[in-house]
């Protein structure tokens, strides 16, 4: 492992930023992070923000500028420089090569940097049953990482988050994808709706709360069209259900039920066309992936977990390689 950086990988999301220095063999030799995500930055603030993090990794002279490859929301229209969405074709083309050939160069004041941004993917007209109109930005890199790590994998991949992505992979290609805004829906209901008075944060390691979570999943899978009635039912239970404990775990139990209802609706939609013995790969933050795993295993699916950071670094490495290959 060398201690000289050959390139820098950056995952620049809406609400935070992570950077890694890698040697010529793609080993991580340094890493850094910051809460300065895209949403809090004007276009002319990105370069300075990045330099604060990576200045120590840069060469002293500008004779050989260091390549910096960025994925995520830094490429949004409101970001640093827009990296236009690349249309996902019918799933038969090599999206990796196309991503590599469509990197958006960013002109920097500091000549020691050579910055490029990975485009997001967009989808028109529901290829293979996905959303008629959909977009992703950042997750394409994780999916490229997964394809590189598991070239033979065929099936569904879920990247949980505020706007969860579900992609179908097959033959080393991304066939289609769907975004579910369940994470945002949960936050709105938990903190801004009439339900907020009834709810506390839950803990699925508690047996009763786990039971309430799974009952919420089952309820919404049995009748997804009753979601907004079941949501009000949480408020009514808080007023009426004398069998619920009266202490502080009451709110946690109801919070677990809310989580189950909202996540259950996503799973009902995302898994509707999957055979029940399918394997589903999860990529994302640990706690959220564990929650998805509990729900999916309850529904009979086999779940594989992949580390978020590894998928990003592998994905950026492969996109960089594709860009360098004529």
């Amino acid at each position: 492992m060398s201690d000289v950086a050959a390139w820098i990988a950056v995952d620049w999301g809406s609400s935070n930023l992570r950077a890694w220095a890698l040697d010529a063999d793609n080993n991580v030799i340094a890493q850094a992070g910051s809460p300065r995500g895209m949403l809090g930055l004007a276009p002319d603030e990105f370069e300075g923000t990045l330099l604060e993090l990576i200045d120590g990794w840069l060469p002293e002279s500008a004779e050989a500028p260091l390549p910096v490859l960025i994925c995520g929301m830094a490429g949004a229209r409101q970001g640093w420089v827009e990296a236009a969405y690349l249309p996902l074709n019918d799933g038969t083309d090599n999206v990796l090569d196309r991503l590599g050939s469509r990197l958006t160069p960013v002109t920097t004041q500091d000549s020691r940097l050579q910055v490029q941004i990975v485009p997001g993917l967009c989808q028109h007209g529901a290829p293979n049953g996905g959303n008629a109109f959909d977009v992703m930005r950042g997750e394409e890199t994780q999916l490229i990482g997964l394809i590189a790590e598991r070239p033979g994998f065929s099936g569904a991949v879920c990247l949980p988050g505020t706007h969860s992505k579900w992609a179908r992979l097959g033959n080393g290609r991304i066939a289609s994808f769907d975004t579910f805004m369940s994470g945002e829906l949960y936050k709105l209901l938990r903190y801004d709706s009439v339900l907020k008075h009834s709810l506390r944060g839950d803990d699925l390691s508690d047996e009763a709360q786990r039971g309430a979570f799974l009952a919420g999943i089952d309820t919404v899978l049995a009748a997804p069209e009753r979601l907004s009635a079941e949501l009000f039912g949480i408020r009514a239970r808080d007023l009426l259900d004398t069998q619920l404990t009266q202490d502080e775990t009451r709110g946690a139990w109801l919070g677990a039920r809310l989580s189950g209802l909202v996540l259950g609706l996503e799973l009902a939609g995302a898994t509707a066309s999957l055979p029940t013995d399918s394997q589903i790969v999860l990529i994302g933050a640990d706690a959220l992936c564990q929650r998805y795993r509990i729900a999916l295993e309850h529904l009979g699916f086999t779940v594989g977990l992949e580390a978020n950071e590894e998928m990003i670094l592998t994905g950026l490495g492969h996109i960089r390689h594709a860009a360098a290959t004529p």
Copy 2:
């Protein structure tokens, strides 16, 4: 018609208050309103708020105090005086008589008043397919009004609002009810979610917007489990759909689609067990009832409209009569 008030009817909701003076034959001889709803008032502020509105209608002496009958959120735990929920039995009992016998008296400082509050209704254990736990407060009075006006009516009644109520009536009884928090869900998505950047208020008298509304209804009825994917699809359409107009009607078109998706989910749940040629009665604010009517007629239902105020006054009049009848 006399100009001497025999009693006062009050509908005291979360965000406003309406009062009517009625003569001995229940003719309205005066009315008044105020934006001082229950949510903005401490318990000791209710009497003064009411007096500001009705002082001119009161007798000069306290020899014969004027009866005041209140329905709505003034009877909530956080209201003036709690009027505990009355359990809805199995739909075979006479809930009107029970409501009349369970009025909650309120002690006032002003001895010219004789105030009583109508209890709300609660539901345990899903009689006849309704929500396992549910509550209403105020709508029970409108339903009593409807039963009085249409004694032979059998079928579904919808009271649209922030928390829409759907009740089943039969044989002059309330059989069961369901609350859908679609109105609140719509507001959260319209004003507080990532979609807010894409949306404007819609106008269903515009043909294109009405089409977008109805397409939203059809989309969610065909696959209710895909709701949160279709919600994100609104954002993606705004980014990608080049066939949408670029002017200000674009946001209205997308707003109409959002309204269709959220209302469609409610209608999918609320009408799932209704024969498609059923009659559905709507009671509520005009604009919202018109929106429900357009959607329900699109789905093949026959819709009847009843005036909100008339149902409240008829309902309070009948509850008052039941209370006076041994």
